[in-house]
Symmetry: C2
Subunit: 86 residues, 2 copies
């Protein structure tokens, strides 16, 4: 069975996000004063082959912990969908 994982990796809420702050400031120059609290992270899509949803979840967790996210500065969350999603 193939699962599609949609992973978001974001800077921890307790940390400043300089890139987000800069974008928030730039919004003002674009006349978009109504936009605030911009935070920037990564979005990662991947396909994982696994026998069950539980197994797929475990593999994605391993990938996030070992490679994709840096737990000192980031947290991650993901959704799993079944089958080919484009």
């Amino acid at each position: 069975m193939k699962y599609r994982a949609e992973i978001n990796i974001m800077p921890l809420k307790a940390l400043l996000d300089p890139q987000g702050k800069t974008i928030t400031a730039s919004m003002k120059n674009l006349g978009l004063e109504e936009i605030e609290n911009v935070r920037v992270g990564k979005h990662i899509n991947l396909d994982v082959h696994a026998g069950s949803r539980e197994e797929a979840k475990e593999k994605v967790n391993t990938a996030c912990k070992k490679l994709l996210a840096n737990p000192i500065m980031e947290y991650y969350e993901f959704e799993l969908k079944e089958g080919d999603v484009t």
Copy 2:
């Protein structure tokens, strides 16, 4: 009314994603051969004040087009949620 936008900005499907390719290759070294088709983009959260959902949508579209996404290389999609979401 305050809306929270969750924006994903991804490399266009027709384009190679060298960062994603590298991560796919690294998965093998971690013993995660079952993971493939990794693509890496940005995830951006922001709050927008607007009178209506339509207005909020328009503002987020403007922000994406003018500042956040590069349409030559990226496409974007977003979800709007009402109120304070943490």
